[in-house]
Symmetry: C2
Subunit: 311 residues, 2 copies
């Protein structure tokens, strides 16, 4: 069985930073990434990155390129296209699959840098829309959405802020939320409700997204309002349901908070002393950033190094 001192799951900024630091500290380390490229959520940043001290990049891809170059230049060990199927925390092994081949890896310390994912509606047509690249930023895509009819789905800060930002650009903005209660800050809600350019539809669920080459309409359903499958013509859909940490692999094996985040101490150790978590798997969206993820990767590597040297 393959054996490594430190196994990192996830190749976003947090995992990359932990791997660079493990290498720097002389720790035998392997990083596993499910996708075909390292970078994680950097691929979802389409705007300029102005908040990583010392480095400004046009977008996430450019940041990804620099981070991966650094990682590769330092000869950090990694495997892409490698899915972790199972973590056996009692025997400290991880079962992974690369193409058709399965193997087990024994770890001394495990670092979960699995990130988070945008919550999805889970309705027909949604994935096709994403795959066609119809993914918008309310702050950066004002020009692209000028004169269009836009539906924003969600009830949190980002949904309300998006509606507010686009109301001056788009022809019509619908804010659609399945409940009548909003998670968003009161001042955000008030600003949207008092804006005549935004139609707020509560108690309403989206059941399908239609369109072949681009979005043309959505289906809506409201139990309380007593209708099923009302069709609404729209040109764009922005899904703003928030993010959820990717913690399925470790559920029930380490302590998690009510919001799903892995609970860690100040050195990012989880409730299992051989398992650490860094980045968006343990950080609320409010505090999430490339810079704090990188910082957490550093701290974990340094802490593990101190443990390995002592032993």
């Amino acid at each position: 069985m393959r054996h490594v001192d430190v196994l990192i799951i996830g190749g976003g900024p947090a995992g990359i930073s932990a791997a660079i630091w493990c290498k720097r500290l002389g720790i035998d380390c392997l990083l596993l990434e499910e996708q075909s490229q390292l970078g994680g959520q950097l691929f979802n940043i389409f705007n300029e990155i102005i908040d990583y001290p010392g480095m400004r990049t046009k977008n996430g891809i450019e940041m990804q390129r620099e981070m991966v170059k650094h990682f590769v230049d330092m000869d950090c060990l990694y495997e892409v296209n490698t899915k972790v199927l199972f973590i056996d925390e009692r025997f400290k092994t991880v079962k992974v699959k690369k193409q058709a081949k399965e193997q087990e890896i024994f770890y001394m310390y495990l670092i979960l840098a699995t990130g988070s994912s945008q919550r999805k509606l889970g309705v027909p047509g949604e994935q096709q829309m994403i795959d066609r690249g119809e993914v918008y930023s309310a702050s950066a895509d004002g020009e692209r959405l000028k004169g269009k009819t836009v539906a924003i789905i969600g009830g949190g800060d980002r949904a309300f802020e998006g509606a507010h930002l686009l109301s001056s650009k788009a022809r019509e903005v619908y804010l659609i939320h399945r409940s009548t209660r909003f998670k968003a800050r009161e001042q955000y809600v008030e600003r949207v409700i008092s804006n005549p350019g935004i139609k707020v539809m509560t108690d309403t669920e989206v059941t399908a997204i239609h369109g072949d080459r681009h979005v043309t309409s959505i289906d809506l359903e409201s139990k309380n309002k007593g209708y099923k499958s009302k069709n609404l013509l729209v040109d764009a859909v922005l899904i703003r349901l928030g993010v959820a940490p990717n913690v399925e692999l470790i559920k029930g094996k380490v302590a998690t908070a009510q919001n799903g985040l892995i609970v860690t101490d100040e050195v990012h150790q989880s409730s299992n002393p051989f398992i650490y978590a860094i980045g968006d798997a343990c950080t609320t969206p409010l505090f999430s950033s490339i810079s704090s993820s990188a910082g957490q990767g550093t701290i974990v590597a340094k802490h593990i190094s101190s443990l390995l040297t002592e032993s």
Copy 2:
């Protein structure tokens, strides 16, 4: 009186990151730096920096240049050559001095990014040696110290590691420590004691460093061994007494740990809810890094932003 929402004391990586993020989040913020340039301890890094994810620089100056460029490009507000004389945490004001002029600044939130300093011997000749640039890295300056007689002062990991590293390069290595007990890890101590190229002198204090254009000798004193002012010919002195956080300004005003570090919670708030600490003022040398300092700057700015938006 000048008023700012966020006042940052200290312009190293932690302070720079906090300022960049404050700007990013639209917070009214001012950074104060005592020295004539921003950068803090980056000026003391003479080796390649390989551990800041995404960016590799030849040395600290190059990293300093990139960080300051980023900071200035973002129009972050700052004052150099500005010494903080006094923090009045009850009235939330700070008294500062720039050249001969004193002024008071009112803050809503204060971020201490005051860093740490290498502990000094405090003996004649020491500052002149530092000012002449006779500051060495045991790992990077092996060639510069080849064939020389080197004295390393201290009893911790860095002193012992330095002695070990230089023993294969230097002509003679003295490890001089004022006590007979060492803080360094046992394995480090054993490796040095069993090395015939290193002379360990315990119970010995350095009382002076001599030399006009470069170090030529040091004076030693040992109460237990009963001698005073023994002179030892050396070509170089490496002071490895550890670092101490720069917390004089805030002593007694927020909780500090036994090691002097400011105690903070996970969002880097101190025991006073209007005072935060980031970087080496609150981080043990073990976990200190540019990357974790930058990450802490981000988190503090995001936390303060959430408080300012709520209010």
